[in-house]
Amino acid sequence: MLEGLVGKLADTPWSIGLHESLYLYAITESTHVMSIMLFVGTIATVDLRLLGISYNSVPVSQMLSRMLPWTVAGFILLVITGAMLFLAIPIRTYHSLWFRLKCIMILIAAVNIAIFTFKVERDKAAWDLGPVPRKSKVCAAISLSAWACVIVFGRLIAYNWFDCDSITSPTMAELTGCPLDPG
């Protein structure tokens, strides 16, 4: 079903237009990369504080309230440009192993954010300037690793090592949703 949807997406004039445009695709991808500075950059500073490694003169509550709006702004830019990049090359991206791994990492990061928001930061008033509790450090470490993986896997989507035409093992065919080449 998902595959049919992706196929339909690829046939839309929007997809073809983006794919064939001289500058729009390049501008979209450049904006996507630059937004990393805003999104992962601000996340990294917040995480370094939550790890208790740096910015310890800044109260945790202030770090969250003053930096996270910029993280959200970066996220909105990344989602819009990311959706456009997917729309431009839907079928290949859908089958990309790196894209699939990237989505899994984003999912892990999202669950981590939910746990932090609903459990970990609840009692942050108690450690606003004091020593950071272990649970906060764990969340920050997961966040840093997950987003680093998102960046790396995202970059690797560009490489064709595991494109459908070079899949030969049943496991890889399973993982990428590609048809297994009988040859």
Partner: protein, 154 residues
Amino acid sequence: MSLYHTAQNLEASALGQTIRESTWLFPAIESAHLLALALLGGSVLILSLSILGVGLKISPALIFKSARRYMDAAVIVLLATGLLLGISEPVKLYGRQAFLVKMISLVVALLVTYAAFNPLIKRGASGLAMRSVTVMTMAAWLMVAMAGRWIGFS
């Protein structure tokens, strides 16, 4: 020896060849380059946003004490990985306008950051001069990143 010859010699160097011929070396270096980009963005932004009054309400000089080591580390990793990427395909880069634009904006960004932005913050400067330098710093690094991505398209 002309610049083009230098590019050809670099391209023929053992290091250049090793990176170019390896499947995963170029992507790995590229990934490190991007991770450092995020770190640089974070350390410049946490300072800039505070100076412009839309970030932390802590003195930028105090934030700088933590931010500077990440900024320096990110710049070092970016320069080192950038150099390796460049050595692997200098002849291609030689003729690319985007690469020239990136190198010029990189020099500007490094100068503005290390000769104006950082010293002014350390001195506790504020006002129009500090804010102008801040906007210039952000714009310069944005230009470097944009031109950098553009190398791949040109």
